[in-house]
Symmetry: C2
């Protein structure tokens, strides 16, 4: 499993991913799932990946045009005229990679499937955020759905639903994501630190703050310990139920 979130804010975009990859619970490793493409001042693109690691790594390599000699690479997503076109190219690449698995021509619902989040901005257009399905088609974030989750999305969702606000600062958004990731890490062994974080400021078209947050990161530790007691306090602050002693006749 995996947990990745791409989030749209008034100020820009925030991306976070875990780095655990596993084949069974007895075979875990660390792999990067957050990738960036930049032409400073002109475009900045971030891709988050969930699903079969062979598929997602191949997709990224294909997008980087690693089938060509280094000197001849000019990735087409760096030349596409719009983020919509970038998402189409990535979706098409994903579809081809999944269809390419040697013998049986596996498709979306196969063990080779993968789901991606793609976000970024090309100068002249506003920032865009997309969720790409294993079939290669995609949806775009908007006011109604301002963030996408992929992988193990459920444990970390309630706090996003309750605390997200588009006008929140990057600092608050990172705090929110760390709470969401911590809840997921606590519940699912297949999601684990270190976490990769990427910020993007609207209209910069340039990579923002990019960091790897290790398990022993002091702030992550503070959030993890603090959230347990904050949740308990929140729970205790709710009014007590008065159990009336009458059974229903159900």
């Amino acid at each position: 499993m995996t947990y990745c979130v791409g989030m749209w804010l008034d100020d820009g975009l925030v991306f976070m991913s875990d780095t655990r990859t596993n084949a069974g619970v007895d075979n875990i490793a660390t792999a990067r799932k957050l990738f960036t493409f930049e032409n400073t001042g002109e475009r900045f693109i971030t891709i988050l990946t969930a699903g079969n690691l062979a598929t997602t790594q191949t997709v990224i390599s294909m997008l980087e045009e690693r089938t060509k000699a280094p000197a001849e690479r000019s990735p087409s997503i760096m030349e596409a005229p719009s983020m919509f076109q970038v998402a189409r190219i990535i979706g098409q690449t994903l579809r081809e990679v999944i269809a390419d698995t040697p013998d049986t021509g596996q498709r979306g619902e196969s063990p080779f499937d993968a789901t991606l989040i793609v976000g970024g901005q090309i100068a002249g257009d506003p920032p865009r955020l997309f969720l790409i399905y294993p079939e290669g088609n995609f949806i775009e974030a908007g006011k109604g759905t301002p963030y996408f989750q992929i992988g193990e999305t459920k444990y970390g969702r309630p706090i996003l639903v309750r605390a997200y606000e588009p006008e929140m600062s990057f600092e608050a958004a990172v705090k929110l994501l760390l709470v969401s990731f911590d809840s997921t890490i606590k519940a699912n062994l297949s999601v684990g630190p270190p976490l990769d974080m990427q910020l993007y400021e609207t209209n910069s078209c340039t990579q923002g703050l990019s960091q790897r947050i290790d398990a022993d990161n002091e702030y992550l530790q503070t959030i993890s310990k603090g959230w347990g007691s904050a949740l308990k306090k929140a729970f205790e602050s709710l009014p007590d139920v008065t159990l009336n002693k009458q059974n229903d006749t159900a």
Copy 2:
């Protein structure tokens, strides 16, 4: 989907279930998923059901021995000498019902599968709580795993993990379950009110408080509204992250 929780406390057992049943999102209905069997002062058994409704309703009917004329019914779970034996009988019944589906002999991993929580006490033995798998085998709750969830378990799990304590009162446990159910109902359309609640006091061997909590129940409303703002306050109480402005060289 469904959401049910059976919880072991120092004071006894608490059970809660939703009542939504659906075949697609455009075909929903209300069905009871919490069933009780009692021989006052001698034994009290509660069963929670998740999965295929035809399967679970048939299991309950079989346990009630509705294949017999009313006068001849003496359900064997009412005569079993121990809760372990009760769980075995229920598991066996579940396995038979799933295997009985007319043409293809579907088994556990089929669309006819179901998962059950069984808890209760027979005089002389301590209270017991079991989780029964579609294959008919089962596990028992203990100090390490003092509660079981079935159905849509993920959204409501983080608060259970953080706030559950075996010494909590029935009142606190009901509050905790309502928070957990509210988080799930907010996230998954296939889980919905009214909720059924059943309390059981250790060594009473008698039905405790039993209630149906409707969507417009005043306390459920209070919890639902209060939890949103309590969570936000908890989130705000965490220290802010200081984003240093240095990128990693990753």
